[in-house]
Subunit: 379 residues, 2 copies
Amino acid sequence: MIYLDNSASSFPKPRCVINAVDEAMRKYGANPGRSGHDMSIATAMKVAEVREKVAAFFGVKRSENVIFTGSCTQALNLAILGSYVEGGHVVCTTNDHNSVLRPLHELEAEGHISISIAKPKDNFRLTLEDIEPLVRPNTYMICVNHISNVDGMMTELEAIGEFCEQRCILFLVDGAQSAGHVKIDMTRSGIDLLALAPHKGLYALQGVGVLCFSPKAKLRPILFGGTGTESASLRQPLIAPEAFESGTVATPNILSLGAGLEYVKENFESINRRIEDLSTYLLYELQNLDGVITYTHPENSFGVISFNILDMPSSQVSDILNMKYKIASRSGLHCAPLKHKSLGTLEQGTVRLSLSGFTTFGEVQKTVKAIAKICEMAK
Amino acid sequence: MIYLDNSASSFPKPRCVINAVDEAMRKYGANPGRSGHDMSIATAMKVAEVREKVAAFFGVKRSENVIFTGSCTQALNLAILGSYVEGGHVVCTTNDHNSVLRPLHELEAEGHISISIAKPKDNFRLTLEDIEPLVRPNTYMICVNHISNVDGMMTELEAIGEFCEQRCILFLVDGAQSAGHVKIDMTRSGIDLLALAPHKGLYALQGVGVLCFSPKAKLRPILFGGTGTESASLRQPLIAPEAFESGTVATPNILSLGAGLEYVKENFESINRRIEDLSTYLLYELQNLDGVITYTHPENSFGVISFNILDMPSSQVSDILNMKYKIASRSGLHCAPLKHKSLGTLEQGTVRLSLSGFTTFGEVQKTVKAIAKICEMAK
């Protein structure tokens, strides 16, 4: 099988990640932060180590501001539902995923907030210019998708971050697709809330998400329960990170993130040069195929390439790639409906090929050949 | 190390669980329910298999009514926050864990509901008699802890379930401590919402929780995002299970639950006879030690034994057990403050020894000897 569905979940995982999970199961099986015995403390220290690593890698000043959740969606829900301002206004974008759009929509439907949706002027990058005209006096949050999971479109963070800082607006960045592919520094980019999907570009297991937050973001818990702190009180504690991690955390998944992060840190240049080279080649070849429409800008891919063949339903192309050529792609809307509205692909969806550091040139070449054959067949 | 902290997280895990996780990482690495390629479908089928197994094991009529969350706390939050009735009333109990008490308290503090707390008449079992006098015309939910994580006290479900059915009240059971130790049949016991902590008595990894619900429980989602369904809509879908599992689910953890459940099913009698025998022995020996106060009823243990030595702080006893004897126990309030209020141990906490199917007689014997020595020292 040729696996080109890494934006859904990266596969394979590096050996160090598999080993970390194995070690977690055999050595760090206690509940971290609950009991005081050796194994519980050793487990808690391993979890704390990963927290420190995440903080260092993403420019978070204090590791207490790194919260582990069960998924990036949970992290985004915490960011959005845990910080909304009654009667306030949010600017989000057409690049956003349903994990951002749906909690925002819920708040809007309940009458708590209003929303404006920024659309990039051209198909290249989303910038402050696309967002600024929508900002109102009661805008308390600007929320962007760092790299689109549909076509790889990047959002330029620095200028938006600076603008948010000046206006005292919270800056939420959905880094689900970007973490591991481009460097992110929360402090330097003025990000207040950064959500991560470690099972994608950080090669961790599914089952762990991360929300990093700045001191400016006054988060409220949205999940209530045992924290191992202030146990006598029925009121949810408010001190991070425990206040936001009620219940038992997913130790093996968190330790897999530690290993994955270490792997990405050590191999950052080589992973991403490989992805860039293969994406450039793949996109160039697809653009030369008669009948293929590509939606990804050549300078803007980060391993995510969307295309269609004539007016074939994207699911049909993906099915042929899977059944006839054993190539794993993804079709449809990729949970980002507004993006497809702006691309004009709400009906057809797109076929998405997404690469990882493990993708080989041979795999990409075979994929191009398969798509060429489907094109011929389609005509 | 002698590990007697299985109520915090069971350790070790059976080999079949470790193997299932390893297989998940190597063979089922795709995102289940997102893409249509072979690996994604194979992964989705494995997840669906576990859903079926959970449904069969706990007497849930339709497997769609089994929801995977990141933890039992998340399952309880979904049950409580996702079903509350504005202006309604809930009866919970002094046995409840903060994962129940804190979300209820939050709803009460926000003015949505009112709460009454049932207290068992004696120290043996909590029954309908303890609950019924507190029920009001606007009571929409009765919520009990099946087995207390502090002292093993059991709640008799059947009569309460029948009462709830007659009165059209939702019956929420926190099965965190009981699943795997006693048989639970949702349908037979009239349970509407059953929350599970698979990393305890079902030997799964941390990082997965379960909420099973009956058709009577009209759940609303509390987590919003991509579901792989109705992707063009910004509104959260409402069809279970996807509507309640926004984001990528924790495949390796869910597959570990499948293996753990299989293990428990095959070894149910032997695991629980062992736990019962060892608990009986342990409790008998502790009761014979001068200076030891036990809080667990001999017929009501299910592997959870709480005690203190004279007026020593429970943390001090746990620390000595850990440092001098390499015995892992847990001290303090175990996130169940009202239970300690009713036991009179809110200040001192209790030392908890909790057993699993892997606990040996030799380990228990050594633990008794260690506690005897601490008693002598304390006098």
